[in-house]
């Protein structure tokens, strides 16, 4: 092999090249001489990578039929309607189980809470509903998975049940803000000022003692509110908007905004109440005292509904503030947003007010589920696929091309954005305490956990579920209980 040595001429050429390079480096500033950088472009690498952020917004107790996009012509929800127009909407969304904590468990883990097997009441003072307990330690949350994928996770919520002792639903989040004081959150001691507010509050009905206990604490928590920004939905969405600014610097991020309004108590600023009710001068029905509604006069029931509607509009307004912030920061261009509610609320429609386990009618079971893709996929389209709370986590992972965790039982609904069908769901089932609910294309049915006291409805001819036809269709009831509920539960249902 021919050996070559560096000649004088070679050396001069190399030295020339080195001098040229050094000159360019010098022109670039190369450290402290940074002021001469302006001559050299700053950008040289391709942009891209993991850029889609995720925002999940939960609006507690929001009924599907109280949105303009679903045909309601008297409640003002301009921001929700606009968001619906930019989103894929699932018109058959139901919680796989309810109420609050059960829905949250499913959303965080992608695992069904129904049929409430191995339920353990966490402590004596905790809510006494089947399945109401913290996320079991062995279950992995969406936030924990995204944490492993390099996401910056943020949580804002005023849903008090999530920050009760041991509930640790904020695990996996880098930062979280608990807006204190909602409902019966043990936030502030009661005082004469708060007790005075009880004088103009309507307390009564089947759960009067419970309602009274809630209101005592609620008024104690909210003494001294002055401007609208002091109410809870404004606080939640304002804090979430603040978090967006931090999140922008830490993309990709996962933001979980869990807003308790329009859950009772309903005491929005008066200007919102005046939108839907006037001339009322009795004690204010700010809670529903879950159960039969016959203890309320028609006027009181109307007023209660108006106060709820007022909170819906207030929530919509502050959701709009949050979305405007996201838009202003340019985050909606690279952020997937899922907005859903966990259940509804009854206002005397079937003789009940509140959330009654034995009254699983549309006003309680029908929720909203919007999915907004930053690329506009599925915008203003609807799907009649049964969508639910436990689909949220696998849907988010699926949208990112990530495999759902093996524990997850929900479906990846993001495929609908591409015009595909998720796995077929010919029916859907849900549970609420000691009652179960199911529906298919033709019927809806609910009963006690053991199949007794069934209620069956023909959805084609009776979509509001006004006429119980169970007694004349025992075969349908048996089929729906055995083939839908027992099958989905994986065997006979537990009871406690």
């Amino acid at each position: 092999m021919k050996e070559r040595t560096l000649t004088r001429r070679d050396f001069l050429k190399v030295a020339g090249a080195g001098a040229a390079g050094a000159t360019m480096l010098g022109a670039a500033g190369c450290g402290s001489l940074a002021n001469s950088f302006t001559q050299v472009p700053e950008e040289y690498l391709p942009s891209g990578g993991s850029r889609m952020n995720v925002i999940v917004v939960i609006i507690d107790s929001l009924r599907r039929d109280h949105l303009g996009v679903y045909g309601n012509d008297w409640i003002k929800t301009p921001n929700l309607d606009a968001l619906a127009g930019e989103s894929l909407r699932f018109d058959r969304s139901y919680p796989e189980s309810l109420p609050t904590i059960l829905a949250r468990r499913a959303i965080h883990t992608g695992i069904r809470t129904f049929p409430f097997r191995d339920w353990q009441k966490w402590y004596d003072e905790d809510v006494n509903l089947w399945g109401w307990q913290p996320i079991p330690r062995g279950q992995v949350t969406l936030a924990e998975i995204l944490l492993g994928e390099g996401f910056y996770n943020l949580m804002v919520t005023d849903t008090l049940h999530q920050f009760r002792p041991f509930y640790d639903m904020h695990r996996g989040f880098h930062a979280f803000d608990f807006i204190r004081g909602q409902e019966r959150d043990l936030f502030r001691p009661q005082s004469p000022a708060s007790e005075k507010k009880m004088e103009n509050t309507l307390i009564g009905g089947p759960s009067a003692a419970h309602s009274e206990e809630i209101m005592h604490q609620y008024y104690a928590n909210t003494v001294g509110r002055r401007t609208e920004e002091d109410w809870f939905a404004p606080q939640v969405f304002t804090k979430a908007a603040e978090y967006l600014e931090m999140a922008k610097e830490s993309q990709p991020f996962f933001m979980f905004v869990d807003n308790y309004d329009p859950h009772e108590p309903w005491d929005p600023p008066q200007k919102y109440v005046d939108l839907y009710s006037d001339g009322y001068d009795g004690p204010e029905p700010v809670t529903s005292s879950s159960g039969p509604s016959d203890w309320l006069t028609e006027r009181q029931l109307e007023r209660m509904h108006a106060r709820y509607s007022a909170e819906v509009t207030m929530t919509d307004h502050w959701l709009g503030h949050f979305l405007d912030k996201a838009q202003g920061l340019g985050l909606l261009d690279n952020t997937m947003l899922i907005l859903l509610s966990d259940h509804g609320h009854a206002f005397g429609e079937h003789g009940y007010a509140g959330k009654v386990a034995g009254a699983l009618y549309p006003e309680l079971t029908d929720t909203i589920f919007f999915m907004r893709h930053p690329g506009g996929k599925g915008a203003d389209q609807t799907s009649d696929h049964y969508a639910s709370t436990h689909d949220v986590a696998p849907t988010i992972l699926g949208a990112m091309g990530l495999q759902p965790h093996p524990q997850m039982g929900g479906q990846d609904l993001s495929v609908v954005l591409d015009g595909k069908e998720p796995g077929r769901r010919p029916h859907f089932t849900a549970g609420y305490h000691d009652h179960v609910w199911t529906r298919d294309e033709k019927y809806a049915m609910f009963s006690l956990y053991n199949g007794s006291d069934p209620h069956l409805f023909d959805l084609e001819n009776d979509p509001k579920m006004d006429k119980n036809i169970a007694s004349s269709n025992p075969d349908v009831v048996k089929k729906m209980f055995d083939e839908y509920i027992i099958k989905d539960a994986g065997g006979p249902l537990p009871h406690y």
């Binding site: 070679d10 480096l25 022109a27 500033g29 950008e43 040289y44 891209g48 889609m52 949208a399 990530l402």
Partner: protein, 205 residues
């Protein structure tokens, strides 16, 4: 025809010159694209031509010294080729096929691009360091090339702003320099041959 093909193969390495220059001009191209179209992506859509020219030039260089290469140089050559292919694939996937629009989080095209840059720099260093032993490529062309490759390795590893842009430019300049050295060497060789031929004729007369 065979002579033409042999000529092209022998001088294919010259393609490193336009390839390297295009590479070196890319930060400027990004700026122009951003200014004119409010997005750098218009430039990135045509960027693949730079690594493609370098790839073709590298094949020419390798053919020029085929039969004289050692194992390490072959490894360097193939690693460099792999890096270039990854960069081209990443660029096309990212800016033409929109692969990352469907896989936004895993971003396969972007990651291929970025990983390809690192592979390319490592391969280039290996190729540059091992080639002088074979003698087919001039040492004065290879040394700046190695320095440029080192600059590339630094600038590809993370975004270093303007400083990184300069290093990126030097990487391209290194490739252009290597190709240019081939031209200079070829021209010098041609002149020496002609002089020798003329001298020989003169003696005969």
């Amino acid at each position: 025809m065979r002579r033409l093909l042999a000529f092209l193969l022998r001088w294919g390495g010259v393609l490193c010159v336009p390839g390297g220059l295009l590479w070196a001009l890319s930060p400027t191209g990004i700026s122009i694209s951003s200014l004119a179209f409010h997005t750098p992506n218009v430039f990135w859509k045509v960027f693949w031509s730079a690594p493609l020219l370098i790839l073709l030039g590298l094949v020419g260089l390798q053919l020029r010294q085929s039969g004289r290469t050692g194992l390490l140089e072959k490894v360097g050559f193939f690693v460099t080729i792999l890096g270039l292919v990854m960069v081209i694939a990443g660029d096309v996937g990212l800016y033409w096929l929109g692969v990352d629009d469907d896989y936004i989080v895993t971003a396969p095209a972007y990651n291929t691009f970025r990983l390809g840059l690192l592979v390319l720099a490592v391969g280039s260093i290996l190729f540059g360091v091992t080639s002088p032993r074979d003698g087919a490529l001039p040492t004065w062309g290879l040394l700046p090339f190695v320095v440029g490759s080192l600059c590339g390795l630094i600038s590809f590893s993370r975004d270093l702003g303007s400083f990184g842009a300069v290093l990126w430019i030097l990487f391209g300049v290194g490739w252009a320099w290597l190709g240019l050295s081939l031209v200079v060497e070829g021209f010098s060789s041609f002149v020496r041959t002609r002089r020798a031929t003329r001298g020989g004729v003169a003696v005969k007369q």
